[in-house]
Amino acid sequence: MAVQEQDSAGAPARASLVNDPKVRSLFYQVILVAGLVALGYFIVTNTIANLERQNIASGWGFLENTAGFGIIQSLIPYAETSTYGTAIMVGFFNTLMVAVVGIFFATIIGFVVGIARLSNNWVISKLAYWYVELIRNVPLLLQIFFWYFAVLRAVPGKRDKWSFGFDTFHLNITGLYGPKPIWETGSAFIVYAFILAIVLSVVIAKWAKKRQDATGQQFPVFLTAIGLIVGLPVITYFVTGMPVYLEHPNYVEKGPILRRGFELGVGAKLIPEFLALTAALAIYTAAFIAEIVRAGIQAVSHGQTEAARALGIRNGPTLRLVIIPQAMRVIIPPLTSQYLNLTKNSSLAVAIAFPDLVSVGGTVLNQTGQAIEIIAIWMAVYLSLSLITSAFMNWYNQRMALVER
């Protein structure tokens, strides 16, 4: 009681340590963190002890062992004699390939459909509406099965083909065939020329912007860049003596029946599993992206359009220079989620025999029994891919965000 009287007398009120909100919250936070650490430690040690007791081999040594199974598609050199580690890398690159190609097409389709939904043309806007409603309400796995099994039955058999594009591309049940560029010595210069063209284009774009800011004069940056990026490598190609040639797929019509059709390993080939998976992922994700794009555009006040019209800007530039830049600020964050979804959904590849990370990892898991290690690899890879995508999109978002002046 005496203490309290002293407090009210003027010295700063000091509650006991137990009742100090700062101390209390710190105390509980420490307890929580300690509890989490203890839980983690308990899980790890318990798992290790159980594995040892059940005589289940553990550790990462298995990655060095010979895999012994074949993989239908590989972006890096792989044979049955390669290691499990290489096999998992093959799966990783296949996942990456599906993700990149899928995101590319999903973005294009999504933007086109999203803008089409806002079109004044009744047919176009209704078509876009039905596309979105139909695609996003059917489960993705069913769509993958549709693209794989239903379409697979519609294309010609292995010893038959559909050709298109002046007989350059061929489609049958074993895949889409096309010419494969063979890079001979000296072809590196073409790549250098391509990189140089991109750098030059960026420099010109910066210079043109500066000039426009200063003088108001416009410069055809887009056409120049296209000319550079296409022209420079082509010129280099001829100057260096045409070091790149195209290897066309070899369609065999005679000989043993199983050797007929397209010869294995000649020309470029996209397997139907890849085509089906990428098509399904791109089309499915595009439906969501279309809604995001529509929402983004509608979030830009109509006054902006009216102001642009009042200034005499035509419809195209209005969309490109006024509406889209502002809409992008709304679009990018949810777009990032869709990109992440697409990457993670690519693991459904396992249902149609596309050798992605989950499919190949599953095979390795079964051959070696190293469940915990394989699942750890899966989680680490998808986590890293997602974090990298988010980091990139966050960077892009910051660039696009409203700059307060």
Partner: protein, 338 residues
């Protein structure tokens, strides 16, 4: 609120107590009243749900035999359909008590996965199925073929070995589920479907025109299929082994589900020992002495089970071949009960 937080956190930490103590599977099974048995996702003749949704097949009957041995009741089984990829993890983690899912006994599986194979209930080998109109008569003509198969199986490894050894180019298309392999092969994605020969006969029934397809004569691997249990529980391992041995011995002695009651009073001492009329062999493995009697009464001997599920009179139409008793020129040979 702060009062409840602390016990909550500590409780979470303490509450996750290891349930991995798997030493006494028999006690666990008896306590819950049924055996959890891992089977395939649908392989006619081996483990496949029938029109009423009841599981049937050679592998399923093994589970029912184990349930008869433990409970005297063949229906005390619950089934977990597993893909080839999931099966070992499900057994290791204790999700199932026994795996009876046309699983090949190999050294690495026996020694590195913490599992034990309880014997062989079907001697199989890997074969190839092709369309008849291809005109192929031997697996050595398969150079350049695209091959459909299941992922996560020994099949995938054998086919790689075979094509490499014979220097033939090939293309492998590996699916997670057998049904998808069948669908892709049926659609013409592949020239060849490869899996265990028994599986080929079974899956052929699911094709649009089973008659248009043939199984090539080559068998390229040894695939001894058998039930699997966890390592480290010898009592349960013994029950698994002797369930199978009892079925094979019963066939050898001519004990069937129909005559088992009469055979109990047989003069043959080995029959008496098997059926529990003499000795205490059941008690030695923690069961009652009529364990084998229940198996044969409720499920039947090996020959009966084989004939009912995959034999010549079934759609699969597989002959006994190497799966005949040793006394009939096959491989089946069970150690005696004595």
């Amino acid at each position: 609120m702060t009062k409840t937080l602390l016990p909550l956190v500590l409780g979470t930490a303490m509450g996750v107590v290891a349930s991995a103590a798997n030493a006494a599977t028999l006690d666990d099974v008896k306590a819950k009243g049924f055996i959890q048995c891992g089977v395939s996702q649908g392989l006619p003749g081996f483990s496949n749900p029938d029109a009423q949704g009841n599981w049937t097949g050679l592998d399923v009957d093994y589970c029912r035999a184990m349930a008869s041995a433990v409970f005297g009741d063949a229906s005390a089984v619950k089934y977990t359909p597993l893909s080839a990829k999931e099966r070992f993890t499900a057994l290791q983690s204790g999700e199932i008590d026994v795996l009876s899912r046309n699983t090949t006994w190999t050294m690495s599986r026996d020694t590195q996965l913490g599992l034990n194979f309880a014997g062989v209930n079907y001697y199989d080998g890997q074969g190839f199925m092709v369309r008849k109109d291809l005109g192929v008569t031997s697996a050595l003509e398969l150079s350049g073929a695209s091959v459909c198969t299941n992922t996560g199986t020994t099949t995938e490894l054998n086919v790689a070995d075979y094509f490499r050894a014979n220097n033939m180019p090939y293309e492998i298309v590996a699916f997670e589920k057998a049904d998808e392999v069948v669908a892709a092969y049926d659609a013409g994605r592949c020239d060849v479907y490869t899996t265990d020969a028994s599986g080929l006969y079974a899956q052929r029934l699911k094709l649009t025109n089973p008659g248009d397809h043939m199984v090539l004569p080559e068998i390229i691997s040894k695939e001894p299929l058998g039930p699997v249990v966890r390592q480290g529980d010898d009592q349960w391992f013994n029950i698994a082994k002797w369930t199978l041995n009892a079925m094979i011995n019963a066939e050898e002695m001519g004990v069937t589900s129909e005559n088992v009651d009469n055979m109990k009073t047989s003069d043959n001492p080995s029959v008496k020992r098997l059926l529990g009329a003499e000795g205490a062999f059941g008690e030695a493995i923690g069961l009652s002495n009529d364990w084998a009697y229940s198996i044969i009464k409720n499920v039947g001997n090996y020959g009966e089970v084989f004939d009912a599920n995959v034999g010549p009179d079934t759609p699969l139409g597989i002959s006994r071949g190497v799966n005949a008793l040793w006394s009939n020129g096959g491989f089946l040979y069970a150690p005696p009960v004595r």
